[in-house]
Symmetry: C2
């Protein structure tokens, strides 16, 4: 029988957020440490262990933790190893699941952050009861977690679901961090929106509130604020973004025929500015047999808790030690 609580840990390039969660998705307590404070991974795990031990004691859950779930960049679900952690301060590969299991005496599973978000959404959020959906995380990059028949798709090597790197522009596409050009995430991430803003400002001539800002430091938030203030160019930047994302979602649909796409991350909170042209674009580009069948929904996880909740859901999947 499983124990009544799980621990969720989200390891980002800047912060590591963690918390204790119950079976209904209530976060009993959460906190964070700086990911880059320790150049030695063992020191980092020691600090995490100290913080979480105190948290478990205060909340009276010592011995009641079923498992630890961790979301981290390039974390391989199958091997428990962070294989190439570009944004993390430690040399890779890192056998993190084993190191954490040894340190805490609690079984630990890891996966990448977008898969963790998908599991969280399925366990506690907008995808409860759905067997086939695709989580799209619109952050600094574009990530994805694909669920088919109730199971996260990991692929033969644990790295499936890199939908941010589908090629959307085969000619004259933007250079991506992956070294190729035209990837979805160069257009539809928060940074992609900022790049679009800079392109629009350079190429177009009409006035815009965005022209009051230093062009190199424009963010997707600036574009959002301008659009909300009624700026025409800012709205068109959202339409441009939505159009490409809609093309991508239509293509993804022919692969796994999901009942919904669930959008997570800052851009997903842009409301109708993004959602309205996105739904129109997806339907316009959709193969006929799928038209009108696929929902686009915003995440239902509370933002402050989402990363911890998503990771924590993995804590229900562990095998006892």
């Amino acid at each position: 029988m499983s124990k009544p609580y799980v621990i969720g840990i989200d390891i980002g390039g800047t912060n590591t957020v963690f918390g204790i969660v119950d079976a209904r998705g209530v976060v009993l307590a959460s906190s964070s440490i700086k990911t880059a404070k320790h150049s030695n991974i063992n020191d980092y795990i020691d600090e995490l262990h100290g913080e979480l031990t105190r948290m478990m004691e205060v909340n009276d859950v010592v011995g009641k933790i079923n498992g630890i779930g961790i979301g981290a960049p390039n974390a391989n679900y199958f091997t428990g190893i962070i294989e190439d952690g570009v944004n993390l301060p430690w040399p890779t590969p890192i056998p993190l699941a084993q190191m954490m299991t040894d340190k805490f005496g609690i079984p630990t599973r890891i996966t990448n952050d977008a898969n963790a978000a998908a599991i969280g959404e399925m366990t506690y959020g907008a995808a409860r009861g759905m067997k086939d959906f695709i989580m799209i995380t619109l952050g600094t990059g574009v990530g994805s977690g694909i669920v088919i028949n109730g199971q996260v798709v990991y692929g033969h090597d644990g790295f499936a679901g890199e939908l941010g790197h589908v090629i959307m522009k085969r000619n004259n596409g933007r250079l991506c961090g992956c070294g190729r050009t035209g990837c979805l995430e160069t257009y539809c991430s928060a940074t992609g929106v900022a790049r679009t803003a800079r392109e629009f400002l350079e190429i177009r001539t009409e006035p815009s509130l965005l022209r009051d800002l230093p062009i190199e430091s424009i963010t997707s938030k600036d574009v959002y604020d301008a659009a909300v203030a009624g700026d025409k160019m800012a709205k068109e930047i959202f339409e441009y973004t939505a159009n490409i994302l809609g093309e991508a979602l239509a293509d993804f649909t022919v692969f796994s025929s999901p009942s919904a796409f669930i959008l997570f991350g800052g851009l997903a909170k842009s409301g109708d500015l993004l959602m309205k042209p996105l739904k129109e674009s997806m339907e316009r580009n959709m193969l006929k047999i799928f038209k009108g069948k696929v929902k686009i929904l915003p995440s239902e996880l509370k933002e402050a808790d989402a990363a911890v909740l998503g990771a924590s859901a993995l804590g229900w999947e562990v095998k006892p030690l």
Copy 2:
């Protein structure tokens, strides 16, 4: 306990091929009837029943059939219904699985032809032992059957895996039978290769063996024969085709990270003319973490038996009546 034989039926627009298969994939007997001979579906099923009953009697397998598996266009695995059989002579929807079960007294499952091919390849062919692979059928169109974690992907509505309708050219793409433009199958099917040949012949000026043929009746087989005879333009038509298919396979890889793509159909038998530039294109377009990991393999099912074998494998999945 399952019975020792299954029946496989492949319903194509022209012919319906059927046979009796054992657990090791040996086809005991096979035959065919004309699909379009009967304008009434009941008459068609009657003829099929007569032919198969005789075949079961001759081979002494009456009462020993575990199930009937059928591959047919737009056949829905979940509902057992052919929902919109564009190439079939009967009004749709057709509750084919139930009609066959009633007529034969043998449990029947149906799926589309590409999914049947994937199941056949996994049960008897090149994908034995593989848990994650994608079957690509290169015929009149481009079909696909996606297997993830040992299971065919049907999606929320039974229609997943329409990879022939991923958009490869977003500008100036070829018109597809689906009503949209730029679909993979307008470039990489047998008819796509013939279209490419016509485009090359019109736009280019160099000599080619293909210029000896009436341009409107050129087939992919003509292009293959010319390439084998050393024709430079014909070889470049294969390279053009392979380049686009390789781009598509690289995109598909980020979705489900398969260990292999298995190619089936006439074009898949073009050997190095297709395979060499295809592998090069896929690797060139591949996201770094997947480079060198994904195989491209030709189907191992004997062509004459492949359709029947693929469909028959479904006969092992049925529930007893």
